[in-house]
């Protein structure tokens, strides 16, 4: 099968090598809604030499900051970010797992105070980078699978 292409963007951010099927979740997490100014193109289940299959999200006229896109690492740890200006890649990096993940994934302990009606947001602290492991700041539970609990 021929690799799926989506049109290049002039200015903006390209999020590539997204885990297949996760593109919409990525947009939701970055709170990208798309409007007249910030056009969004998405490819899902595109062929990838590196991953077999991948998703791609391109956002026009918006340069996403590292602390924003790094939140994606929890969802799709191999994603790469390219910042495009005048059709040129001016910056390219891989997302990095943040030390603290707030409001992205629920603690998997249903009895945790952060899963109750309290004025707090979930907060997971990284305890290991490779393999990535997180622990709930509140109840101390080591999380088995953060990706299953993305809010």
């Amino acid at each position: 099968m021929k690799e799926v292409k989506i049109a290049p963007i002039k200015n903006g951010t390209v999020i590539d090598h997204i885990k297949p099927g996760m593109a919409l979740k990525v947009m939701e997490m970055l709170r990208i809604d798309g409007d007249a100014r910030h056009g969004v193109s998405i490819a899902m289940y595109a062929n990838s030499k590196k991953l077999g299959l991948k998703d791609i999200v391109k956002v026009e006229e918006l340069e996403l900051e590292p602390d924003v896109v790094n939140r994606l690492a929890v969802l799709t740890p191999n994603a790469t970010i390219s910042i495009i200006r005048e059709l040129k890649v001016v910056e390219k990096y891989m997302v990095q797992l943040p030390q603290v993940v707030e409001g992205i994934a629920r603690c998997e302990n249903l009895n945790c105070i952060s899963n109750q009606k309290e004025p707090i947001i979930s907060k997971l602290i990284r305890t290991s980078a490779d393999p990535p492991r997180y622990r709930c700041f509140y109840c101390g539970r080591d999380q088995e699978n953060v990706q299953n609990n993305i809010i």
């Binding site: 009895n111 105070i113 009606k117 109840c139 101390g140």
Partner: protein, 308 residues
């Protein structure tokens, strides 16, 4: 080193020398805890004792500790005693208690409740047990009891029996004992044995540990036997629970080969894992252990409110 103003949420938050300091001050508190000496150390201070879940020993010993030091106590027991039942968040209740008191002792059915409370309160928060979570003052009083009875904790061979998989208080005790250099034997059926990650943490700190299913074989070598309650709800079948619980019951006749100084501990309440006949033997230390909740909590209240 000072504990002044500190929250006590998790035993892991305390450095080893801080634990030692708490145990030293606990010892100094003994005559006051027994009522032999009077103290006005915390005169004018107020403890908010917020117990949203049933507790006998922990609540009473916190409140006794405050009274023995000349302080005062305001208290909430059970959710019906507070606005929580009207839908108030714990966070709001804590903000109110913070405004009314100098220090808060909290027990709550949800794990992480104490950590969250500490973020909403400027008054220090002491965790009196949150759900199946942490219970640091229990660990401190367990350590104090061993040190009082046997001296150097690091030289003891501690056998821990019962529900080791889910009992997080047993996990924090083991990690504290490991840091202090004690040898540990974990006795339980496989399905409720000490989890691998705790074993690997313990080995990582150089502790000598082993797991076994045979309680009787471990009695002669033990300096401490720490019994815990095996909870019925962990088992799918009543039959299986009975079989397991029956295999981990201490009886007087099992103690013939025990060391003279061997001490039996239990966080209480017990069901029938320790036969009442043992209560009158020299080995039974679980009531002394329960009493030690008072001097240990006195030490904490003093160190947190006044410093050294």
């Amino acid at each position: 080193m000072t504990l002044k103003g500190r929250d006590i949420i998790n035993i892991g938050d305390l450095e080893l020398d801080e634990i030692e300091l708490i145990l030293d001050i606990s010892k100094e508190m003994l005559p006051v805890a027994r009522g032999e000496k009077r103290s006005r150390t915390l005169d004018g201070k107020v403890l908010a004792s917020l117990f949203f879940e049933a507790s006998t020993r922990t609540r009473l010993s916190f409140e006794t500790a405050m009274h023995r030091l000349g302080g005062n106590v305001i208290t909430i027991t059970g959710q019906e005693g507070s606005s929580l039942i009207k839908g108030e968040t714990l966070a709001d209740t804590i903000r109110m208690a913070d405004a009314y008191s100098d220090i808060i002792a909290l027990r709550h059915p949800r794990e992480g409740a104490a950590r969250m409370s500490a973020t909403f309160s400027s008054a220090p928060v002491i965790n009196g047990g949150d759900g199946a979570g942490q219970h640091p003052t229990q660990t401190l009083l367990d350590l104090f009891t061993i040190r009082e009875e046997l001296g150097d904790i690091g030289k003891q061979n501690v056998t821990i029996v019962g529900d080791l998989r889910y009992g997080r208080t047993v996990h924090s005790l083991s990690l504290a004992l490991g840091r202090m250099g004690a040898t540990m034997t974990f006795v339980a059926p496989d399905m409720i044995q000490m989890p691998d990650h705790i074993i690997s943490d313990l080995k990582g700190m150089g502790a000598k540990v082993k797991r076994t299913t045979d309680l009787k074989a471990e009695i002669p070598a033990s300096d401490v036997i720490y019994m815990t309650r095996i909870q019925k709800e962990r088992f799918a079948e009543e039959e299986e629970y009975r079989k397991v619980a029956g295999a981990y019951k201490l009886q007087v006749r099992m103690l013939d080969d025990a060391k003279k100084h061997m001490m039996i501990m239990h966080p209480l309440p017990r069901v029938d894992e320790i036969h009442p006949e043992i209560d009158s033997t020299r080995h039974a230390k679980y009531f002394a252990q329960a009493f030690n909740g008072v001097p240990v909590r006195m030490a904490l209240l003093k160190l947190i409110l006044e410093g050294e």
